[in-house]
Every structure is written in structure tokens, then in C-alpha cells.
């Protein structure tokens, strides 16, 4: 039986002998990681085509930004990708710094890099938990969140907030770090090293994980680039691209770390690459702990945040991928004409159709988990 009229978004026309049907998944669904709605065209249990529907958490941030000052927008950037809030802050702040032409002292840069990497580890730990949880192992959720709470303790001590940090400012950050910061990071790294060994033993060689993720949801190198994927998803498909290396910001060019690259592009590689990135982040943190300047200024002289006429662009590598901020200042002043954010999850969900086609519906849950999308960042 062939379908003569397809619902909006579906494109493939084909003749089949079986009866096709449509399934709606979301917007309230435990494995869509928030308010995402997917419509699936099924042939038996196999996915023929998948159409994502966005906008269930579209909050109009870009419209709001037009009536806000630049500093107020930093607080909104927390709420885009709340798992990497501290990294989003930096993305916005770097764009403003380019306009204001201010520099950052060495200690300020170290604070930035260390908090960035702590945020990256926290986000990947949530991925670890959700990946295990979506495969049916609820224990992983408990494990991932256990170490994440320790990072949140550090973040709370430094920034005053657990999740929505709103910490960086043009020229540095809001506060200096307390004296206990470095010892705590050191203790945390020692603990995490042991914990990660346990976790990898727990999940990486698990037969259920291997059966359900190896060869599932393959994204080829060409497709990954064409769809604009970035971050771990792109690197799992064999493309060596990391903004920290390609266009180093802050002091990433002075630090020694590797970019892990995997070549299969399936769910298992996307899982392994995040584990490898946690280890790289730990390497960066260890270097920073050693080199951390004890004295010296932690921010440059405070200036009013006024940007001259022009367009400013910044990009950073968050835990999810390339996070770019595009600021348009039409008049010299405290308010932007327009701020646009490019979040990494949007292209990933656009490429989901490519990955899920031909797989079973239960594999879709695995694929969604390994993309690690955050929906408010897509809808903004």
C-alpha cells in the first residue's frame, strides 16, 4: 500500500507491500531529553523516515536580547544550554571583549579555562548517566550524577550558583576564586581518576551496551560535515576539528592536550569519545593546577560595556560542540541591535533522520542519547 499524501516534513515516496504507519514521540517523552517532538514513519518496527518538530520550548531569547543590555544577556546565555552554562557565558563574553578590545590577565584566563573544563566534565558525566539510563541501566544515572555534584560544589563555591552561573564578565570574571579552589580541584581530580576507571569497567565492555550501540546510527564523515555537526559527534565520525585547536581562544594554545578522534561514527564511538574527552579535560586541569598563578590580577580594569558600531563573532568549543555568538551593534551603546547564537545541538537533530533511517525504534533512543542534545539551546 502506498501513501498518497504525506504529513508535513516527510519527503520519501516509495511503494511498499506492507502497511506504513506514523508514530508521534514527544513532546513529553523521557528519552527526548526535554520538549522535542519526533514524528516517525514506521514500517513494522523499522524507521522509514523521521521528522523532528522544534519549538516547544522556544522562549524568544533573541527578541528579548534586543531590549536588554549586553550584561543582561550573559544571564540569558545560562539558560540556553544549562548543562554547559559556564561555557556559554564565555562564548558571549569573548564576543563582547572583541568589541570592547579589552584583555584578560593571566590569572583570569586560568580561572576561565579551569571552569570551562570542569563544566565539560560535568556535561559529559550527565551524558554518561543518561546514556546508561536510556539503555535501561538506571544505576548509571546515580553514578554520573554523584561526581557531578562534586563539580557543582566547586562551581557553587566559586560562582555562587550551582547551575546558572552567570560568572564571566568582559575582562575577567565577577569574583576571584577562593583559596580552597585549587586544593578542591586537586582532590576532585584524584577522586575522578579512580571513579572513571570503575565507570569504564562498568559500561565500556558491557555486552548489552556493545550489542545496542556498535554499528547503530552510523553518521559518515561527509554527512557529519555537510549537516554542520560539531563537537564529539563530528569527531566520532573521523574529523579532527576542535575549536580549541583550530581557533584557540583563551590560553588553550599554551596547554598540552590531545583531540581524541574515532572513525566509525556509530553510537559506541560517540560514547567512547566523551569518555576520552573527560580524560583530556583532566589532563588540562592538572596542568592548570600546577601553573595556576598564586598572585596577580584576576581581571582587567572594569570598563562600561559599550560596543562600537560593528559586528562581532566569537566561537568556542562547549561540551556539545561549536557554540558561536554573533553580536550586531548598530549604534555605539549598551544595547545590542541583534544577538544571534549558534548552538551545537540544532544540526545534530537535523542529522538525526540520516542516522535513524533503517534502524529499529528502540535504537532511536540510543541514538538520541549519544547525540546528547539540549532542546532549549535549539529553540532558544
Amino acid at each position: 500500500m502506498s501513501i498518497t499524501r504525506l504529513p508535513p516534513g516527510f519527503k520519501i515516496t516509495r511503494e511498499t507491500n506492507t502497511e506504513e504507519f506514523f508514530i508521534n514521540m514527544g513532546p513529553q517523552h523521557p528519552s527526548t531529553h526535554g520538549a522535542l517532538r519526533l514524528t516517525l514513519r514506521m514500517d513494522g518496527e523499522t524507521i522509514v523516515e523521521l521528522v523532528p518538530h522544534f519549538g516547544y520550548i522556544h522562549r524568544g531569547m533573541e527578541k528579548q536580547a534586543e531590549s536588554m543590555s549586553y550584561l543582561q544577556y550573559i544571564a540569558l546565555s545560562d539558560r540556553q544550554d544549562y548543562l554547559t552554562a559556564i561555557q556559554n557565558n564565555l562564548g558571549v563574553v569573548i564576543a563582547l571583549e572583541k568589541g570592547m578590545n579589552v584583555g584578560v590577565p593571566e590569572k583570569g584566563e586560568y580561572i576561565r579555562v579551569m571552569l570551562q573544563e570542569l563544566g565539560r566534565i560535568a556535561s559529559h558525566l550527565v551524558f554518561f548517566g543518561c546514556f546508561g539510563g536510556d539503555l535501561g541501566g538506571q544505576t548509571c544515572l546515580l553514578f554520573g550524577f554523584k561526581e557531578r555534584e562534586m563539580i557543582h560544589d566547586i562551581l557553587e563555591e566559586v560562582t555562587g550558583s550551582r547551575l546558572t552561573t552567570n560568572f564571566f564578565r568582559p575582562g575577567g570574571s565577577r569574583y576571584d576564586v577562593p583559596e580552597t579552589f585549587i586544593p578542591r580541584v586537586k582532590a576532585f581530580l584524584d577522586h575522578l581518576e579512580d571513579a572513571m576507571r570503575d565507570y569504564e569497567r562498568f559500561l565500556s565492555k558491557n555486552i548489552i551496551v556493545l550489542e545496542r550501540s556498535v554499528g547503530i546510527g552510523v553518521l559518515s564523515k561527509e554527512d557529519a560535515i555537510a549537516y554542520g555537526c560539531s563537537g564529539p559527534v563530528l569527531r566520532a565520525s573521523g574529523v579532527e576539528f576542535d575549536v580549541r585547536r583550530a581557533n584557540p581562544y583563551s590560553i588553550y594554545d599554551q596547554l598540552d592536550f590531545d583531540i581524541p578522534v574515532f572513525h566509525n561514527g556509530d553510537c559506541y564511538d560517540r560514547y567512547k569519545i566523551r569518555i576520552a574527552e573527560i580524560h583530556e579535560s583532566m589532563k588540562i586541569l592538572r596542568q592548570c593546577v600546577e601553573k595556576f598563578p598564586k598572585e596577580g590580577p584576576w581581571r582587567s580594569k572594569e570598563k562600561p560595556v559599550r560596543l562600537p558600531v560593528g559586528r562581532y563573532y566569537s566561537e568556542i568549543e562547549t561540551a556539545k560542540g561549536l557554540y558561536a555568538t554573533y553580536v550586531v551593534a548598530a549604534t555605539t551603546g549598551e544595547k545590542p541591535y541583534r544577538i544571534h547564537t549558534r548552538g551545537p545541538s540544532f544540526p545534530h537533530i537535523a542529522a538525526l533522520n540520516k542516522m535513524a533511517q533503517g534502524h529499529k525504534i528502540s535504537d532511536l533512543v540510543t541514538i538520541m542519547a549519544t547525540l546528547d542534545p539540549v532542546i532549549p539551546e535549539i529553540d532558544r
Binding site: 520550548i57 581557533n247 572594569e302 542529522a351
Partner: protein, 419 residues
């Protein structure tokens, strides 16, 4: 519910029957208050704190709520974790209707209480969950800490323990009123109270002044002297790929309409050559050359722009600027194409806010990722992409009127930010 509520009717006439009714209340409430099963529902930041609170450190199981149900039909409690948008509102009302009674609702976070950070200049956020469904407990915070959520749970527990057979839980109504600005109303009441207090205190203040004509407050304003730091120079970014000047020259040789907005009188070449290395080159190009130029930089072996960062637009009085951001993964340089799309002023003025004002060819056949990005631009600005395979609204409802990111956009639900 149901049969238990008949208990007073049957038992009260019997001598000593009310003690039995009280015992029934005690047992039922003990069971209800100690196993409140929440629904797995979360839209944004608060959902993560809700997850944290159910994990090892905070352990929501201490309060009997560890069983997060994925189906509303098995849940008792609806924790509204995260912003509610107008598009999500019908789904929330439906979920609430599907939960069997007695059911309770906790509004978690500032967004579900009043709209939170998204209260002003916003066309899509519902200002408060109580405008949609009856709410039992409000938990403030942005996002609330897990401890705050527990406080909300315990408050709900107290509320449940107060229920009796005589005054049972009753289902509230689904509301579908237009959203209201609670913050402003609260501010007005507050201002009225302040004024009242001020008037009441006026006499006392005048009296005090008469009695103590030269009274000076012992407190002096303390101004902490700010420390001054020397500015440290930013580490120069490494140079990758072609320089901006080379890119500009190559494009200029191919396409006549290529220019660069420099905001200065100097020749373009000098300004482009003096650009810092980490600043991407933004070239202006005519609409006619746009598709050709994108095709050229994608296929040219020296450019190899294979990665589309983003497609976005900016609204000006008489034109749109469509900005296409491209990058070469292999070589490392970036080019931003900026196309000026003149607004079509032949359309009568009354129809302009609801009609497509500009036209530009699509690039979604060159970059598959551009499809959703162009849909976003279409949705937000009302620019027509010729040849786009699937041009629909992406973030807003199909029947939404107007294009929100235009500067002249108005919406009946939008409240201007008080300056």
C-alpha cells in the same frame, strides 16, 4: 475519593462512628502523603535540578517520591520543571487531565510562577502555570536548589495531611485565560503600600525634625577604593588558512559586487589587511551573485568551504541582511557572506507585517544543514527562500501571525520592558 468519602454519611449516625472516620482519614492520608509519585516531565534547567534531587546526593526517596513515572496515568504529582511556552501549553493541560485524581501540581522555578526572566518583550512564554492548570505549591528559584524542591514536597505533604473525608480533595478547573503580568500588579500594590506608609510616617518625621533640628546620622557612606590593575595584552591568535586579504582579492576578481563594510575612509584593501587574524571576513554581495558565490567557495579547491556554521538575518528599516557563515574544516578560514535583501514595498502597508518581504535563493541543496537554518530565518523574519524543499514555520505555530524578529513586530501578549 469515591467510596471513602461516603464514610461520614454511613458511620456518623452510629455511636462512636466519627472516631472510625478519623481513623480512616489517618490511614488514607498516611498512605497518600508518603508515596507521591511524580511524572517524568521537564522542559529546561529546572529539570536538571529535579534529576539531581532524585540522585544519590539528595535522594528524593527519603520523601517517598523516587518512583518517577513516564506515563501520566501512573503518576500523582506533576512537577512543572521549566518554562512553559504557548506551544507547549495544550500538551501540559492534556497531561494534567490524564493524571488520575487525587493529583497535585508543584510549579518549580521562576518561569512557571510568573514567567521569570522571560516576562518582558516575549511573545511565546506563558506567564505562570496557574494560568493553565491549578497549582498546589510554588517553589521559587532560578532554578531552585534540590533542598527547595524538598521543601515544596514537604509543604505538599502538609497539604495532603489536612485532607479529610469531610473535606476531600477536589479537582480544580483548567483555565485558559490570557496571561497576566503578576509582577507589575504586585509592584503596583507594593507602591501603594509604600505610599500609605510614607503618609503615615510623615507626621512622625516632621515631629522628629522639630525636636532634633541638627541631627546627623552616625553612619557615613563608605566607598571602597577600587583597586587598579595593569591591563594584560591578549595572546595573539594563531593564523590559519588564507588571510582575509587573499580571500577578498580572490572573491573580488570573480564577483564584481563584492565589497566590505569598513566604517572608515581608508581603501578596503588596507583595512582588510589590518584586520586581526581571528576576525572573520564579512563580505557584502548582491542577491544575484549570492548562490554563485556560495557554490564557488564550496567547490573551489583553494577555498573548500565545506562547513556551514549558520544562516541568520538582521532586520533594518528598508532591507534585511542575510548572513551566511561558512568555514573550511580542512584549511581553517572563514567567510561570512552578507546579502542585502531589499524589502518589497509594493505590498500595501497594512499587509506588510504578515507577508514575506524579501526573496533569496536557497542553499539547502549545497549544504543539507542549511535546511533547518533557513526555515528558522523564514519563521523569524519572513524571508522567502526560493527553491527550499520544505519551507514551514519551525519554532512557532502554523497559525502564528507575524514574524517576531522584525523590529516592527507587535504581539497582543507582549509586554514592553519598563526602562
Amino acid at each position: 475519593m469515591g467510596i471513602i468519602n461516603l464514610a461520614p454519611k454511613v458511620l456518623d449516625p452510629i455511636p462512636g462512628g466519627k472516631y472510625v472516620v478519623n481513623a480512616i482519614d489517618y490511614v488514607v492520608n498516611w498512605a497518600r502523603a508518603n508515596s507521591i509519585w511524580p511524572l517524568t516531565y521537564g522542559t529546561s534547567c529546572c529539570a536538571i535540578e529535579m534529576m539531581s534531587s532524585s540522585m544519590a546526593r539528595y535522594d528524593i526517596a527519603r520523601f517517598g517520591s523516587e518512583v518517577f513515572r513516564s506515563s501520566p496515568r501512573q503518576a500523582d504529582l506533576f512537577i512543572l520543571a521549566g518554562t512553559i511556552t504557548r506551544r507547549m501549553a495544550p500538551a501540559i493541560q492534556m497531561l494534567w487531565e490524564q493524571i488520575p485524581g487525587p493529583k497535585y501540581v508543584i510549579a518549580m522555578g521562576a518561569c512557571t510562577i510568573s514567567g521569570g526572566p522571560f516576562i518582558y518583550d516575549n511573545y511565546s512564554v506563558v506567564r505562570g502555570a496557574q494560568n493553565l492548570i491549578p497549582v498546589d505549591v510554588f517553589v521559587p528559584g532560578c532554578p531552585p536548589r534540590p533542598e527547595a524542591l524538598f521543601h515544596g514536597l514537604l509543604t505538599l505533604r502538609e497539604k495532603i495531611l489536612k485532607e479529610t473525608c469531610r473535606e476531600p480533595w477536589h479537582e480544580g478547573d483548567i483555565r485558559n485565560v490570557s496571561t497576566m503580568d503578576r509582577y507589575r500588579e504586585a509592584a503596583k500594590t507594593w507602591a501603594a503600600l509604600e505610599q500609605m506608609k510614607d503618609e503615615e510616617m510623615a507626621d512622625a518625621r516632621a515631629k522628629f525634625k522639630e525636636e532634633h533640628p541638627d541631627y546627623k546620622s552616625p553612619y557615613k557612606p563608605v566607598r571602597i577604593k577600587k583597586e587598579e590593575f595593569p591591563e594584560v595584552e591578549r595572546v595573539a591568535c594563531k593564523r590559519y588558512g588564507m588571510s582575509q586579504l587573499d580571500i577578498y582579492k580572490k572573491l573580488k576578481a570573480k564577483f564584481q559586487s563584492v565589497t566590505v563594510h569598513t566604517h572608515s575612509e581608508d581603501p578596503i584593501e588596507d583595512v582588510v589587511a589590518a584586520m586581526p587574524a581571528d576576525r572573520p571576513l564579512e563580505v557584502m554581495i548582491d542577491v544575484e551573485d549570492y548562490l554563485g558565490a556560495v557554490e564557488y567557495v564550496k567547490n573551489d579547491p583553494e577555498f573548500k568551504m565545506d562547513f556551514l556554521i549558520d544562516v541568520t538575518a538582521i532586520d533594518y528599516d528598508d532591507h534585511f541582511d542575510l548572513v551566511t557563515q561558512l568555514r573550511s574544516i580542512e584549511i581553517g578560514h572563514k567567510v561570512f557572506f552578507c546579502v542585502q535583501i531589499k524589502k518589497d514595498f509594493n505590498i500595501p502597508e497594512a499587509d506588510r507585517p504578515t507577508s514575506l518581504l524579501g526573496k533569496v535563493p536557497t542553499i539547502s541543496h549545497l549544504y543539507p544543514g542549511a535546511e533547518v537554518k533557513e526555515r528558522e530565518v523564514y519563521d523569524m523574519f519572513g524571508i522567502d527562500f526560493e527553491g527550499h524543499p520544505d519551507q514551514r514555520r519551525i519554532f512557532l505555530d502554523r497559525d502564528f501571525v507575524g514574524y517576531p524578529l522584525r523590529k516592527d513586530f507587535t504581539h497582543p501578549e507582549m509586554i514592553r520592558r519598563p526602562v
